[in-house]
Amino acid sequence: MASLAPWREASYTLAIWRRHFLVWQRTIYSTLALQVVNPILFLFAYGLGLGAVIQTLDGLDYLTFVLPGMMAYSALFTASFEASVGAYSRYAYQKTWDAMLATPVSLLEVLLGEALWAAFKAMLSVLGVLLVGAIWGGIASVGGAVLAVLALGLASLSFAAVGLACTAHAKSWEFFNYYFTFWVTPNFMFSGVFFPVDRLPDPIEWLSWLLPMTHLIQLVRPLTAGQPLALGPALLHVVFLAVIAVGAFLLAERRLRARMFD
């Protein structure tokens, strides 16, 4: 059954994913606190705090404006953290990857399993924020929210892939300071989470278009707010996120192959 071959091979990647899921189940409450409650606290703080000051932004009430930003933030934070600090501890300290590589599992599958796991975990926190935001009245379009979740899934894979590329180059924990300072934080601050990027000075706005988070928010905000989203630009955003995901993933795999095998 040659046509079944890719799926048969997929069971190796699935085995890696299931390992991460099992470990997560054992520590579910602490991770839920971090991944779901954390962004919800943000949502309340910004929704109630800034929402009281800012009535509307770009024609949206502030909750509707900030909710997609918070969903994107939880995807960014969760996927980035899991694929960097989480993956690095498995790689360099627990030697989990070495244990996996002593079996028929390949490095590519170890990394695919990591990326899918980080994206899955990111989506759990996205859905938590979405649920609270929807109850609170921040979702204007249910169909749009479904599409937004798909976009967030793709973006989570991009963030995970960049995190893995960073892990592949990290020689110590300190290396992640650069990653959080020069990658995660700018993605959070300069991508339109709290205010539209066109309010930024021009050169900074141009730079913000290099960040996947900016493209994600351009997709997600009109979708959940029930605003029109032009197909052409939307496709460009999707392609940008996909290119980052594939490019960073291949970079991570290449670097780790060179590092782990000689």
């Binding site: 190796y12 627990q94 070495d98 244990a99 002593a102 079996t103 095998f261």
Partner: protein, 300 residues
């Protein structure tokens, strides 16, 4: 021997730039054998093991596993190998049972097979009472046994043991040795590296001693002892009595005393003046190892 070797190296070499870690070695691991690769730090042992496991490319010569060149080894062959690594890489957040289940899935074993094998494996490694405990609550010896059980989940033909008892107390080591001999009796092939010569002597059928990337000696433990340190050792304190100073007996100066190697203890004992202080014991593999690789510390 007719059977294809499980592992066969011919002129196997590895260099890292100008550094030659392994300089052309030949050996064959036969099915059902316990084969020990011994050597001081920096001898080329780790490099050789890494080449066997496919983590390091070979520079020259040939290396086959199950009759296939290492470069062509795929999933099918890797599923026939169980690795017991030097460091503990169990999943610390999971239980004994979960560690085995997770590992079984890496070999794509069906759930029913995994479920069936786990009780037998934990029983074999005497971990039945700990089956639902977290790995962090296990002692060092139990963790080692679990790593060994984990390596057995896919019923491998070849088990690679990288210093399997380092850091364990004598009771834990004895138990692991017993179970390894049991595995050998069941027809598994064992490839062992260790710094404990008593371990190698007890378990191995064939020993290769390497240093500076070359094979210094090989044979059964008995052959190596007979050939290099004769069978009996007399450690005689300095100053030596005159009768021993004439070089008639094979000896080695180790500082405060001199080791004499003889086949029959009587040969030397009858020569010793009554007041001489000495220690007589059967020669062992450690004597061979130290004699061949020298007594200088290897630190790298």
């Amino acid at each position: 021997m007719a059977a294809t070797p499980i592992i066969e190296a011919k002129g196997l070499a590895k260099s890292y730039g100008a550094v030659q870690a392994v300089r052309g070695i030949d050996f064959a691991v036969r099915p059902g054998q316990c084969f020990a690769l011994l050597g001081p730090n920096g001898a080329g042992k780790t490099t050789t093991m890494r080449m066997i496991m496919g983590l390091t490319k070979i520079s020259a010569g040939s290396l086959t596993l199950f009759g296939k060149p290492v470069a062509q080894i795929g999933r099918a062959e890797r599923a026939r190998i169980g690795l017991v690594p030097q460091e503990d890489n169990l999943d610390p957040d999971l239980s004994v049972r979960q560690n085995l289940e997770v590992y079984g899935r890496y070999f794509k074993l069906p759930k029913s097979v995994i479920r069936e094998r786990i009780p037998a494996l934990v029983d074999f490694m005497q971990l039945t009472e700990k089956i639902d405990q977290g790995v962090m609550q296990l002692s060092g010896g139990m963790k080692r046994r679990l790593i060994l059980a984990r390596a057995m989940i896919a019923e491998p033909e070849l088990i690679i043991l990288d210093e399997p008892t380092t850091g364990l107390d004598p009771q834990a080591r004895v138990l692991i040795w017993k179970q390894l001999l049991e595995l050998k009796r069941a027809g598994r092939t064992l490839l062992l590296t260790t710094h404990y010569m008593d371990e190698a002597q007890r378990l191995s059928d064939w020993i290769v001693i390497i240093d500076q990337g070359r094979i210094l000696a090989e044979g059964t433990p008995g052959e190596l002892i007979a050939q290099h340190v004769k069978g009996h050792v007399f450690e005689v304190a300095k100053p030596l009595p005159g009768v021993l100073a004439n070089g008639r007996f094979e000896h080695e100066d180790i500082g405060d005393s001199v080791l004499f190697y003889v086949e029959q203890p009587g040969e030397l004992r009858r020569e010793l003046p009554a007041e001489t202080s000495y220690l007589h014991r059967p020669a062992n593999l450690e004597d061979v190892f130290l004699r061949l690789t020298g007594r200088k510390l290897r630190e790298n």
